[in-house]
Each structure stands twice: as structure tokens, then as C-alpha cells.
């Protein structure tokens, strides 16, 4: 494909490389573009990435392993779209995804991305684990298979297979059971929702996943979906309609908030803790939901919610988006976004760093270990905090 055929040929050259995209809303530093914060070379800033994409598509530079790594180091956190002062800002990540789609079609993707996508093609999850094992997390929890209940509780790959995230999936399931919510899970029948596959540019694979999922949901008579991960929430809410799959979907924090306000979930037990909340990009900047998780936490007596300076639209991505929880292009340094983020969390004096996404959970928990902050800061999912308050192990 030449530059002319590139979907954003008439806007991609409009980037000035003025550098706004590196800042949070209050301009306090240049660490809010995770890839730039990690490498601090102009090529890794959003502007650098757009210029390199244009240069590659107009054959000014050739494809290389390094170019692919730069393109795939973007974590789809949309800080750039929040800060770019120019009118094309709504399309910035689309431009990056379209460039990745071109690399995917030419087969020229980094090895880690090739692995990720092949594993999803074959096993329905990026880890390459067997499909039968996808439901094991729910053993002995009393959670039932989905047959038409009010909600389909969609867990996602990370929640299903990552040992730490499985605990979150279990706890949330039990909290929903305790609140009398009628729901079921797909277990080993659940397949990847494709949000990261789409972000990685494998748009045909995403199409197949979406169509299969929509057919499966319709056959099972799914009416409402509640997701553990903001990534699945994003795909179902924004991208599945194209495949005739516009199901009403909630992120679980929205459901927990409603359950608490409707009195179906009693959190009066309370918990004494100083908590700071990390806004996941796919819930906040992508879908504008900043309040539900905070309302859940503030409804728990004894919790002192303290805000990090980089919160809401200015959240610093944990570095796990856009497939990076697996490809980990931003790992391996004290400047990895997750480690910068946990250092900031520690400065608030909070003892609990609350998250609302399994990807953030794994990234930030590893970062707490890497920073040696285990004694000062523990990473807990909002559902786990609610579980603790309700005495659910």
C-alpha cells in the first residue's frame, strides 16, 4: 500500500511535532506518553511515531525491526488525543492502528506480536494456553455456565488465564453472587474479545472474532453483558455494533455502583485504608468513565480516597495496553510506565493502589515488586476491595 492508499493520507502529515502529546492536562512533566516516558527519544513520542509512519508509507525509510518496535511500543492510551491541539486529534490512534494493519498484511511484525496473534488465531488467547483451561478459574466458586441469565459475565483472556487476575475474576464473581445478580460465564467456550487484536492491526482476525462472538452471544440469548476488563468493555461497546452485535454492556464498576446505590450490595462493613485509584485508559480516556469506580470506593466507610496528581484525563497508562501486557516493549527499566506510576502512587501515602483492569493489575503489581515497595503499597482491584469489605475471601 502506498501513502496515497493509506486511509489517513490527507491528515497524517498534519502533525507539527509540537510535543503537546507528551504532557498531562496540567503540563507537569513529559512522561504522559508511556512510550516516550520509557525511551525519551523523539522517535518514541507520538509525533515521532506519526512522522515515521508517513516516512515509511512514502518509502522515505524502509521497514525495519526497530521501526516495527517503535510503532508497536504505543500502548493505545490516547493521552495524545487528549492533549493534541489540532483537529485531527480524534484520529491519532486510528492512524497508528492503520499503519499496524499494513505491517500485519505484509507479515512484517515484531516476533512478540506474531506470537500474540498466532496464539489468538489458534488458542483464542495470547498466552497460547489450551482452550479447555479457560474456565478453570471459576472452579468451586459456584459460578454457573451462561444459559440466558440477566447478565453474561465476560472475563477476557487476562482474567481467565493470568494467575493473579484469576483471583480478581473469582472475587468479582462471588461479589455478584452475594448481590443476587443473575449471571453466567462462558468458561472454556469464551473466546478472545479481540480488542487488543484490533489495536495490533490484525483487523481481519478481529472481524472473525467479533462475528463468532456475536453469533455465540445471540445463540445463547445474551441480553446484557458485564465485563471484568475495560478492554472487553471497549470492544463490545464501540466496535461490535459493526457486526450487528450492539449489546448493552457495563464495566463491572458501573454495575457494582448501581448495586450499592440500589442497596443490593452492602458495603457498610467498611475498611480502614488510604486508597488511591488508577484510571485505566480504556475506561477513562477511551470511554469517559471516571466516576463509577470512585463512587464504589467512596461508598465504603473508612476508605480515604486520595487522588494522584495524574488522574482522570491525565492518568499515566500502566504500559499494558495495545497488547503490551504480553509484548512488553516498554518493560525492563525504572522508566517503564508502570514503575513511574507506582512511585507516584506511593507518594500519596496510600497503602492500597486500586485498579479496575486485569492488565493494570499485572503490570502495576510487577512494578511494585520491581520498585521494592511491597511493604508500603499493595495493588488491589476495586472488586477485591469490595470483596474484602463483604468478607468474601
Amino acid at each position: 500500500m502506498t501513502l496515497a492508499e493509506y486511509k489517513y493520507a490527507d491528515t497524517i502529515h498534519r502533525c507539527f511535532r509540537c510535543g503537546y502529546c507528551k504532557f498531562p492536562v496540567n503540563w507537569m512533566d513529559v512522561n504522559n506518553c508511556p512510550a516516550y516516558a520509557r525511551f525519551r527519544m523523539e522517535t518514541y513520542s507520538c509525533g515521532g511515531r506519526l512522522w515515521l509512519t508517513k516516512a515509511w508509507l512514502s518509502n522515505e525509510i524502509d521497514w525495519s525491526e526497530h521501526l516495527a518496535q517503535i510503532l508497536y511500543s504505543c500502548t493505545a492510551c490516547k493521552n495524545c488525543e487528549e492533549k493534541c491541539p489540532l483537529r485531527f486529534n480524534v484520529d491519532i490512534f486510528n492512524m497508528i492502528q492503520a499503519a499496524r494493519a499494513e505491517m500485519v498484511e505484509r507479515g512484517l511484525v515484531p516476533a512478540a506480536v506474531k506470537e500474540f496473534l498466532e496464539n489468538v488465531q489458534r488458542h483464542g488467547n495470547p498466552y497460547g494456553n489450551a482452550r479447555e483451561g479457560r474456565g478453570e478459574w471459576s472452579q468451586e466458586t459456584g459460578i454457573e455456565q451462561y444459559q440466558g441469565q440477566d447478565y453474561l459475565y465476560y472475563v477476557g483472556c487476562v482474567g481467565s488465564y493470568d494467575t493473579r487476575a484469576q483471583q480478581t475474576a473469582r472475587t468479582l464473581g462471588k461479589v455478584l453472587l452475594r448481590s443476587g445478580v443473575s449471571f453466567g460465564v462462558l468458561g472454556s467456550e469464551e473466546n478472545c474479545d479481540g480488542n487488543e487484536v484490533n489495536a495490533l492491526g490484525e483487523e481481519t482476525l478481529f472481524e472473525m472474532l467479533a462475528e463468532e462472538n456475536v453469533r455465540k452471544f445471540k445463540d445463547l440469548g445474551v441480553t446484557n453483558i458485564v465485563t471484568l476488563s475495560p478492554h472487553s468493555y471497549n470492544a463490545f461497546k464501540n466496535d461490535y455494533a459493526k457486526y450487528d452485535g450492539s449489546f448493552p454492556v457495563l464495566h463491572y464498576t458501573q454495575l457494582l455502583r448501581d448495586l450499592i446505590t440500589d442497596g443490593k450490595l452492602d458495603v457498610s462493613g467498611g475498611m480502614n485504608a488510604r486508597v488511591t485509584y488508577h484510571d485505566p485508559c480504556f475506561l477513562g480516556r477511551w470511554n469517559g468513565e471516571y466516576d463509577a469506580p470512585r463512587q464504589v470506593l467512596s461508598a465504603i466507610p473508612g476508605i480515604e480516597l486520595v487522588e494522584m496528581e495524574k488522574n482522570r484525563e491525565s492518568t499515566l497508562c500502566c504500559g499494558g495496553g495495545g497488547g503490551n501486557f504480553y509484548t512488553d516493549f516498554l518493560g525492563g527499566s525504572e522508566n517503564s510506565p508502570a514503575r513511574i506510576r507506582v512511585r507516584e502512587a506511593a507518594t500519596t501515602g496510600a497503602s492500597v493502589l486500586a485498579v479496575a483492569c486485569p492488565n493494570c493489575m499485572t503490570m502495576l503489581e510487577d512494578a511494585v515488586k520491581a520498585e521494592g515497595l511491597e511493604d508500603k503499597l499493595v495493588v488491589k482491584d476495586v472488586s477485591e476491595i469490595v470483596g474484602e469489605v463483604c468478607g468474601i475471601g
Binding site: H13, R14, C15, F16, R17, C18, G19, Y20, K22, F23, N26, W27, M28, D29, V30, F39, R40, M41, E42, T43, G48, W51, L52, A55, E60, I61, D62, S64, H66, L67, I70, P85, L86, E309, S333
Partner: protein
């Protein structure tokens, strides 16, 4: 060649030096019309010691070094004109000290304007620095190195007049300190020791500024901007003269631009005021908009457009993105204020000759002592024709500045040549000696201010 690379990896670490096509491509462009100049290495140091070692290496291997802050100075000043090392200083971004009592701040060279403004707003709300109109990614030290100006230029002069002290690595690798910091631990004044300040305005050709101390100024709780508009450009100099006489105003800028249409052919004056009380604000507004400018209003020659509280961070202006082409460049100049009418008229002719909607702006420096006057030319990076038009307009404007008896501010190599052709030979010769003294091997940002 690989030995230089290996040495650089030893100095800054493998992740902060690159010879790969991608880095060399990005670091060969600035945001303006200058042709790309490809570096051989892109290096991002973190400490002054690393810069010393890099410069010693550069001297041994005769490798040019071009320092780079935000890279937004346009005119090719941030490009490695003779290849070699493009030294990205943005990792050195620590705000070292803010002294409330003596009102100064000490920053590393990579600290950006946005970062400092945000830091002061959050931690020292009664202090402010003179922030230039450039995007927030521009660095403090980079702005110093080109005699930049900010939104306190009218009351307090060039940003380079606000320097309290410098830490500089000389081209041959030694670290020098200028100002009080060279004798005391405090960075509160640039004088009174013998003056060897040879690093401002040289665009990084005599050394690399690694730390700078800068004066800060009182920041009042109410800040805002009044707007005044006139049709006749000949009125602007006298109006500026009268307003500056009141000594009440912070930033004072006159601008005119064809786009958006409301400002075409008209001259808007932005008058920034600040006050700690409604009383102080009302007094200043009355002094300026009634007593000073009242008779222009009554005569119908000038119009008061109101006063808006709160100052917005300057956005990428509409005109610079007019071509929707991700590119613009402007010629900056330091002119006598009375040349505003000619600057406007002649500048407008150049713009219209090249099919570019004109955009001019004059920011007052001091008490009408001078003004920074700029002509902006937008272009479309995807349409080489518009880039050529913009480049020609820029060069014609460089010529215009000297023709109108002014001085080009932060000129590219074209403008530098014009300036040096007119400078008196002895001063030029002294510049040559200074350069040779400080940079015997000619590795410090060669290609800029090169006296033939």
C-alpha cells in the same frame, strides 16, 4: 566509526544512543522549512558529566555535536548542520531549586516551559517566569541560548536579561560556572564578577548550557488580557509608547493577520494586566483604557474590546495550521517600535506575493526600547510547492529586516550570513577569535555563526 558508537554507549548507556535509520531520520528534521540534515548519532545524556565525556570524545574524533532542547526554534538551529551527534538534552529535566526570597529558579537544560509554569502554579503560586509563546515543549535553556522573550518581555526585557547564572560545558569538555554560583552556593545574580558570558545568542556554538538560573517575578492573583483594536497601523507606535509610559502593563503585543477574517487589515493590541485586588485592577484599567486610550476611542480611531480574566496557554495558532500541512516557520527580528507600520506593510506584500495569508506580530521589549517582530508563513509539508514559497518568503523577509535597519532574531544560516556581511569587521573578528579559543577543533554545533 564503530569505536565512537561504542564509546557513546559506554558514556550514556545503550538505550540512549542510536545510529538506526529511524532516529537519524527524526533528528534530521525541525518543524520548519529547513532541508533535513542527517546526524550520525542521536544521543540523550542525563548528566553534565556525561556531556563532558561526550565533548572530549568529540574533540578526539573530530565529531560535530549539535545540542537540541525542544527543537522548536525553527530556522534549522536545532539541526546537526554538519552531521555528527544530535545531542537531545530533554532527559536533563530536573527543577533543582526555587528560591522564594530572592525570586529565582535553577533548572537543568532539559526543563520545558510547560513543566516550569505548572511547577510554579502548583508549588509557588506567587511567582511566575517569562513564558514565551512557543509550545510548552520548548526548553528554558534553549530559549536563553537564542535570546528568547516571554510574556514579561515588556516590563523586564529578554529572557536572556533574566539570567542569574549559568553552568556551561565548554566545547573542550571543562565545566564552567558564571554568575554568583561560581563563588557562592546561591544562584541569585549574574553580576558583578568579570563578565565572560559568551553563551547567549550563540545558538549553542560556544558550549552547552547544562544549568541555568533565571529571575522569577511576582505573580498576582488576578491576571487577564484587555484587547484594543485600530485600523491605522501608523497609530501603533505612539499607542505603544503611551501604554508603556504607564508602567502598569505586563505583556504588550500588537498583531495583525489575514485569517481569521475578523482581524484582516486591523491591528489588535493585547494588553496583559495583573492585580491582587479588584481595586488595583480597576485602577489600572481606568489609567490605560480611559485616560491613556480614551481619546482614540472618542475620535473613533481605536476600539476597546473588553478585558478577559485568566490567561490561556498559547495554542498552535490558527494561521500556523492554515495550510493544514503540519508546518510553519516565522522570521523573528528585533526592531525599533516605530518600524511597526513598515514591517506590517512590507511584510504583507511579501506574504501576498507568495500566496500566503499574512500573519505579523510585534511583542514590546522593555519600555518601548525595542520589539520582537515576527512574520509567519504556513506551508503544507506534503506539498513541496508551498514549502518553496514559504522558504522564499522567509529569505525575502530576512532581507527586509536588515533593509528596515533592524536585526534578525535567531537567524538560520541564510540570515546569519546577511547579518555577518553587515557587522563591523572588528566585532566579527573578535567573534572568530572567541570561537577558536573556545572550540579549537570546531566541533561545537558547526555551521552556525561561522565567521568565514
Amino acid at each position: 566509526m564503530s569505536s565512537v558508537y561504542e564509546s557513546l554507549v559506554e558514556i550514556v548507556g545503550g538505550e540512549h544512543v542510536s545510529t538506526q535509520a529511524e532516529e537519524l531520520y527524526i533528528y534530521s528534521f525541525d518543524l520548519g522549512t529547513t532541508e533535513p540534515h542527517r546526524p550520525d548519532y542521536a544521543v540523550a545524556p542525563r548528566t553534565t558529566e556525561e556531556i563532558q565525556e561526550i565533548l572530549r570524545l568529540a574533540n578526539r574524533e573530530k565529531v560535530p555535536v549539535a545540542p537540541l532542547g525542544g527543537g522548536l526554534s525553527l530556522a534549522g538551529l536545532a539541526l546537526p548542520l554538519k552531521g555528527g551527534i544530535s545531542l537531545d538534552l530533554k532527559r536533563m529535566d530536573t527543577i533543582l531549586e526555587v528560591n522564594e526570597k530572592s525570586r529565582y529558579v535553577v533548572v537543568e537544560c532539559g526543563v520545558s516551559q510547560g513543566q516550569l509554569t505548572s511547577y510554579l502554579e502548583r508549588h509557588h503560586p506567587t511567582l511566575m517566569h517569562s513564558e514565551p509563546g512557543a509550545p510548552p515543549m520548548a526548553t528554558i535553556a534553549g530559549n536563553m541560548a537564542i535570546h528568547g522573550q516571554g510574556d514579561l518581555a515588556h516590563p523586564y526585557g529578554f529572557n536572556s536579561d533574566m539570567v542569574n547564572g549559568l553552568e556551561v560545558v565548554l566545547p573542550t569538555g571543562e565545566v564552567c560556572r558564571f554568575g554568583s554560583c561560581s563563588v557562592s552556593t546561591q544562584w541569585y545574580t549574574n553580576h558583578p564578577l568579570p563578565d565572560v558570558g559568551l553563551f547567549l545568542g550563540w545558538a549553542g556554538t560556544t558550549g552547552i548550557i547544562t544549568r541555568v538560573s533565571m529571575k522569577l517575578f511576582p505573580h498576582k492573583s488576578i491576571v487577564g488580557a484587555g484587547q484594543f483594536v485600530v485600523k491605522d497601523e501608523n497609530l501603533i507606535p505612539e499607542i505603544i509608547h503611551k501604554i508603556t509610559h504607564t508602567e502598569m502593563v505586563h505583556d504588550l503585543v500588537a498583531y495583525s493577520q489575514a485569517i481569521p477574517p475578523f482581524s484582516s487589515g486591523l491591528h489588535h493590541l493585547t494588553i496583559n494586566l495583573s492585580a491582587d485586588s479588584e481595586k488595583e485592577l480597576a485602577f489600572k484599567m481606568e489609567l490605560i483604557f480611559d485616560d491613556t486610550l480614551g481619546h482614540y476611542i472618542r475620535s473613533g480611531d481605536g476600539g476597546y474590546l473588553g478585558f478577559n480574566r485568566g490567561l490561556q496557554r498559547p495554542q498552535v495558532s490558527k494561521t500556523s495550521d492554515w495550510r493544514k500541512g503540519g508546518g510553519f516557520e516565522y522570521v523573528g527580528s528585533i526592531m525599533p517600535v516605530e518600524t511597526y507600520p513598515d514591517c506590517y506593510r512590507r511584510g504583507r506584500e511579501i506574504s501576498e506575493k507568495h500566496g500566503i495569508p499574512y500573519t505579523v506580530l510585534g511583542r514590546v521589549i522593555g519600555m518601548s526600547h525595542a520589539m520582537m517582530f515576527s512574520w509567519t508563513y504556513a506551508f503544507n509539508r506534503a506539498d513541496p510547492e508551498t514549502m518553496d514559497q514559504a522558504r522564499e518568503a522567509l529569505h525575502e523577509t530576512d532581507d527586509l529586516v536588515l533593509e528596515l535597519d533592524g536585526a534578525i532574531w535567531k537567524p538560520g544560516t541564510y540570515g546569519q550570513k546577511l547579518v555577518m556581511e553587515r557587522m563591523d569587521p572588528n566585532t566579527l573578528n573578535l567573534m572568530k577569535k572567541v570561537k577558536q579559543l573556545l572550540d579549537p577543533n570546531g566541533i561545537m554545533n558547526p555551521g552556525n555563526w561561522e565567521v568565514s
